[in-house]
């Protein structure tokens, strides 16, 4: 067979596990087969199909920027059969991955622009790869604003990393803003006492409302639960962002990742999108013309 089977999973080893919240863990993976390592390239916003033999497969977005060949990080919430099984794995255990799939964020297009990253909950995972990429190529991007909405302090992902950015981000021309839903959360309240303009009680949209942002030379990148997009997009368009300036990444039942299995097809006859291969990153313009995408 001369054709490479894009559906065959590759073996990977868990080199480290970080417990992030009660339901989310960060997995550090290393590809085992050295031949596949060289071919394995991923860009921010792409995803993998992660599988455990005998249990099944789940699409998971990669949450870091590629630094070393064959190494990557996945932030996984235990929410279904496969992710629960992944959470039971320990350091040194193996799992199988295939991909990376999807278009990813247009990092080249966004060069020399300001970035406004807006995430809710687990949506920060793919956006973290965008943030890391921009920090790695810091001179290629303008100012970076991150707006992150969480339920409470204990549900905040990548806490140490982001708290550092929250306090010291200005050195890197990064503004890190936090919104917390649970108004009684003491630790978040303390953060808001520290910087009342950077941390506030409410939804992520509150951050957009209370921050001076302009659409000039800016791309907005949004990821969060499906319900969030509508409200965030409304705020952004009211502030003059055009549909082409807003990028978002979508979730669907993506069984194959390569546009075959049919589960993620969205749209009506005039605009058909496979979220797995045409996406998962789309502009708001795509969403406007593709029925059911957002």
């Amino acid at each position: 067979m001369t054709v490479k089977n894009s559906l065959t999973p590759l073996e990977a080893q868990i080199t480290r596990i970080e417990e992030m919240t009660s339901i989310e863990k960060l997995f550090y993976l290393k590809l085992i087969d050295l031949n596949t390592v060289k071919e394995f390239h991923y860009t921010p916003g792409q995803f993998l199909e992660v599988s455990i033999p005998g249990v099944g497969e789940a699409p998971i977005s990669i949450c870091d920027v590629q630094r070393e060949h064959g190494r990557l990080q996945l932030c996984i919430r235990k929410v279904g059969r496969v992710t629960n099984a992944i959470h039971r794995l320990k350091k040194g255990d193996r799992l199988w991955i295939r991909g990376p799939y999807g278009n990813g964020f247009p990092m080249n297009l966004m060069e020399n622009h300001d970035l406004l990253l807006i995430a809710g909950g687990l949506g920060i995972a793919p956006l973290r790869s965008v943030l890391q990429y921009a920090l790695l190529h810091r001179n290629s991007y303008g100012s970076i604003t991150v707006m992150y909405g969480v339920k409470c302090y204990s549900m905040m992902l990548f806490r140490e990393e982001f708290l550092k950015l929250f306090r010291e981000g200005d050195k890197l021309n990064v503004k890190f803003l936090l919104a917390y839903e649970d108004s009684d959360d003491f630790q978040c309240y303390q953060l808001s006492c520290e910087r009342s303009d950077r941390c506030m009680s409410g939804l992520v949209t509150k951050l957009i409302e209370s921050t001076a942002i302009t659409p000039d030379n800016t791309y907005a990148v949004v990821c969060g639960p499906p319900i969030m997009y509508k409200f965030v997009v409304k705020e952004l368009t009211q502030r003059g962002f055009t549909p082409a300036q807003i990028y978002m990444t979508m979730e669907r039942r993506m069984k194959c990742g390569v546009g075959k299995c049919g589960h993620c097809i969205t749209g009506s006859s005039n605009s058909i999108k496979y979220v797995c291969k045409d996406g998962p990153v789309f502009t708001y313009w795509d969403a406007l013309k593709t029925r059911g995408l957002m």
Partner: protein
């Protein structure tokens, strides 16, 4: 390239096909008609048939097929079925449907299982016997222009054989002694037979501009009316020659170590089709799923229909939902 094969030589011709693989053809199975079945006796072959219930997609995307053998520790090992098959007696609509499947399964990420079987299968088309449910002239699939190795166009005592590939040419060459050249009379007859066949396809669906109409008719009452009677059983997906959604399931053996990764046909009419972990469903209601299916059939991509007008979904719908009728109501023609 066109040749001629006398009907009386068909048995001999068929016997030479064995060397190219197991022969499957339409065989009368039930009172409802023929199914593609392995041909053990030439007498079983029914080349004059209207439609099979299950389309020939079952040979390329099997209803249920193992993709990998799996082991908890060792991972996945590919299973490739490289058996050779000859499909005898495939209609134009079904060949066009395979061409549509090719667009999906052989694109930038070719599916190895599908590709292997497509390469290992010889397709011999045959003229069809249309009934009142056929509307292939509306979907531009009443003729197959590619996607076959040989095509047998029936005339009175023989077939005009169109050679569609090198493999087809090889078969013709091996049957030199029974293959003739068509005469002028044969060509005249061919035209008459084709005209007669086409005249039987009377059902018409106006697909011009259907994309705009469907997009603008999201709230049309006809969707809810039909969703109310639809059983959501997914039969339309199973019998559709272009429906191609699949699901992948890991099956473990009793030792809980070894097993199979299997893919099987899925159906967009079933509730879990757009369900993701955590319980969110992107098409939670039947009316959304029904609308989605009609949309999907009217667009494989923005430039192509995904329906070949075979009529199966209407014929086999247990709720008697008439595909063409629904679209006509949406059009308000």
């Amino acid at each position: 390239m066109y040749k001629k094969l006398f009907k009386e030589d068909l048995e001999q011709f068929t016997s030479t096909l064995k060397q190219f693989g197991s022969i499957y053809g339409p065989v009368k199975k039930t009172s409802r008609g023929c199914e593609f079945t392995e041909l053990t006796d030439f007498k079983d072959l029914q080349l004059n048939y209207t439609r099979t219930m299950i389309p020939p997609k079952k040979f390329f995307l099997k209803p249920k097929e193992p993709l990998y053998s799996l082991n908890k520790d060792a991972g996945f090992k590919e299973i490739i079925d490289d058996s050779k098959t000859v499909l005898l007696g495939v209609h134009s609509c079904d060949i066009n449907a395979l061409n549509l499947l090719d667009r999906v399964y052989l694109n930038q990420f070719p599916d190895l299982h599908y590709k292997t079987r497509r390469e290992n299968t010889i397709i011999i088309g045959v003229s069809c016997e249309p009934d009142d449910y056929c509307f292939c002239t509306s979907t531009g699939s009443s003729h197959a222009l590619k996607g076959f190795d040989l095509f047998l166009h029936e005339i009175s005592d023989s077939y005009i054989v169109r050679v569609g590939s090198m493999k087809g040419f090889q078969i013709i060459t091996q049957n030199k002694h029974i293959i003739k050249n068509p005469s002028l009379t044969d060509i005249k007859e061919f035209k008459e037979y084709e005209a007669e066949r086409l005249s039987k396809i009377t059902l018409n669906l106006n697909v011009n501009g259907i994309q705009d109409i469907l997009d603008l008719s999201f709230d049309h009452a006809v969707w809810q009316e039909n969703a109310d009677i639809c059983f959501g059983c997914g039969s339309c997906n199973l019998v559709c020659p272009t429906c191609r959604c699949y699901d992948v399931i890991d099956y473990l053996k009793l030792d809980l170590k070894n097993g199979l990764k299997v893919r099987r046909w899925d159906s967009c009419m079933l509730k879990q089709h757009a369900l993701v972990a955590g319980g969110l469903n992107f098409r939670p209601t039947r009316v959304e799923r029904l609308y989605n299916r009609f949309n999907c059939k009217m667009s494989c991509s923005e430039d192509s229909l995904n329906c070949v007008g075979c009529g199966r979904c209407t014929v086999y719908c247990p709720a008697d939902i008439n595909f063409v009728e629904v679209l006509k109501q949406v059009r308000e023609d």
